[in-house]
């Protein structure tokens, strides 16, 4: 059974149907992709799944349980973590603190225990710090641990955002255009990185991507959106040949390449 499902998911903003009748079924351990031209409704899907928007129709099912309308922090606690298309870090906090904030939702110590530095809090904090440093080591940001996150170069900010999402202890990771703004070299590294964390943390990943070459090579299954409608879904090899996809999406690129 699929880990994450959407059933006839609808989202309208006033008169605009940003998303219509989306049916996704991402199996545990899957690496699925969501593609489509600008304004197709991809980010809206993430906002719905992560609880930032309430759907105007349909349901979202996580691990056999309906989660439609649950608030973001609870969904994160249940194992759904995400990143944002336009990176959202805690700019003035240090790189390490950004990751430590991610661990906070797993802590058990109460306010009182934290203020009084009681043993349970101290134990959790020590544990958080060592795991935070290990995580930074893994994503290659250990050297920048004490720098303000906002001062990092762009590519590192992307990695830090993923590291922060990993710190929340997710089972499923939603990545919104992780390669946006990266050069080809960095994009190659990113693919490698996504595969590595997926194996290491047993993740299920849903990724939005504009860069078709990246997504074709990375994902095992693609869903193509256009104007909120699902125009195709299937393995990358089939999607590549799908006439509607070529018209709606690849068409632009073909034209761009040939000219």
């Amino acid at each position: 059974m699929a880990l994450l499902c959407t059933e006839n998911l609808d989202m309208r903003f006033g008169g605009l149907a940003a998303l219509s009748d989306l049916n996704l079924a991402v199996p545990e351990g899957g690496l699925y992709g969501l593609i489509g031209p600008n304004g197709a409704g991809k980010t809206t899907v993430f906002n719905l799944i992560s609880g930032f928007l309430q759907p105007t129709g349909g349901r979202i099912v996580w691990d056999g349980r309906e989660i439609t309308g649950e608030p973001p922090h609870r969904l994160t606690a249940w194992g759904i973590a995400r990143t944002f298309q336009n990176i959202r870090l805690f700019g003035e906090l240090s790189v390490l603190d950004n990751v430590l904030v991610g661990f906070h939702c797993r802590s058990h110590a109460t306010w009182g225990e934290a203020v009084l530095r009681l043993p349970r809090y101290r134990r959790e904090e020590l544990d958080r710090r060592s795991r935070g440093l290990a995580l930074l080591e893994e994503v290659g940001l250990a050297a920048a641990a004490d720098q303000p996150a906002g001062k990092l170069p762009y590519g590192h900010q992307r990695r830090l955002e993923i590291a922060r999402a990993l710190a929340t202890g997710p089972r499923c990771l939603l990545l919104d255009e992780p390669a946006a703004g990266l050069n080809p070299q960095e994009t190659g590294d990113l693919i490698f990185f996504i595969r590595a964390i997926k194996d290491r943390y047993n993740l299920t990943i849903l990724v939005i991507e504009h860069n078709l070459r990246l997504v074709m090579g990375l994902c095992q299954h693609l869903t193509v959106l256009d104007h909120g409608l699902t125009i195709a879904a299937g393995p990358p090899a089939d999607i590549r040949k799908h006439p509607e996809v070529i018209r709606a999406y690849l068409g632009e690129e073909r034209v761009a390449i040939s000219s």
Binding site: F52, P72, R82, F90, V101, A109, V115, T168
Partner: protein, 322 residues
């Protein structure tokens, strides 16, 4: 003595205010409401029944308040708890909104509480206020509370919860996506700050011994706001330094309002000159260090040690966060 007590009380208030305004980044404009509640609660609880009958000439004080008489520490605590109760009541509407709306909602509290204090004659004695409180507030109490408030707030800010509050200020959406229940975190900070406002109000009442609704106008909130902005929003160290500086400066500058003779010229005292000079000082701080005296930095022994060892190494801010 009085001025040192004042410094301590303003440190307490500023540290609490900085928690919600500077650390959490929520523009809360109602501390005067909580201070009023604490001041009145504590005052009504320490006055003896005889003093109360003397004060409440127009409308008698309601029972059981008319009979209550508690020791000073218990009255302070009660003042803090009443402020917390008010915070609990108002927290739900307050944190449904953000930004300018939150500022306006909280700005209303000060006025609401003041109107209540003016009109609930059977509890507050109305505009006449309460006179002849016993001056319980001494250096032990005022500085004891200031140290306790600073210790608690600093411990909170440097904990995992404080990190979460900072995260909410930096980017609330990202904080929510990172699993932080922003409502509960903000409410927690709001309740804690309310407690120290309440206790500070109780101390203030027993320092000046006469309180009336006109004492707790928005002007009080405004002063606190100036203090935390000058100190550097988000820095507890800055809040302490600025609270002390502001209170002391306010006192010393009284001199400029008195007639003085300089080089044979006689300058008549100009009432209000104090505030002009303070405002100019504020302007200079804002112009020359936009982020206040301390920015978001904190004092730490490790940082001090680093600075002493490193001489004038400008790259290492002497008060870096540990």
């Amino acid at each position: 003595m009085r001025i040192l007590n004042n410094v301590a009380i303003f440190i307490t208030l500023a540290v609490a205010y900085n928690l919600i305004n500077g650390v959490c980044g929520q523009l809360h404009l109602g501390p005067n409401a909580f201070i009023t509640l604490g001041a009145y609660t504590a005052a009504l609880l320490t006055m003896t029944p005889a003093e109360k009958t003397l004060n409440f000439l127009v409308t008698p004080l309601y029972w059981p308040l008319s009979q209550a008489a508690l020791p000073f520490p218990a009255a302070l605590l009660a003042g803090g708890l009443v402020a917390v109760a008010f915070a609990l009541l108002t927290g739900f509407p307050v944190f449904r909104v953000r930004g300018d709306y939150l500022a306006i909602v909280t700005l209303g509290f000060g006025e609401v509480v003041r109107v209540l204090a003016n009109n609930l004659q059977g509890v507050t004695n109305g505009p006449l206020g309460l006179k002849g409180l016993y001056p319980y507030t001494n250096l032990w109490w005022s500085w004891g509370v200031a140290v306790a408030a600073t210790a608690v707030v600093a411990a909170l800010v440097n904990s995992s919860y404080g990190r979460a509050l900072n995260a909410i200020r930096e980017d609330e959406t990202a904080a929510r996506a990172s699993g932080i229940n922003t409502f509960r975190h903000l409410l927690g900070a709001y309740l804690l700050s309310a407690f120290f406002f309440g206790v500070g109000g109780g101390l203030l009442a027993h320092l000046i011994t006469t309180i009336s609704p006109s004492l707790f106008t928005f002007f009080l909130t405004f002063n606190l706001l100036i203090i935390i902005v000058v100190g550097g929003l988000g820095s507890t160290t800055g809040a302490i330094l600025a609270a002390a500086g502001f209170t002391l400066a306010g006192e010393w500058l009284r001199i400029v309002e008195e007639p003085a003779a300089i080089f044979g010229f006689t300058i008549p005292g100009i009432p209000g000159m104090r505030m002009v000079i303070l405002s100019l000082a504020l302007l200079l701080v804002i112009i020359f260090c936009r982020r206040g005296l301390m920015g978001r930095r904190e004092f730490s022994w490790a940082g001090l040690g680093r600075r002493l060892r490193g001489g004038v190494a400008g790259s290492v801010p002497g008060a870096g966060k540990p």
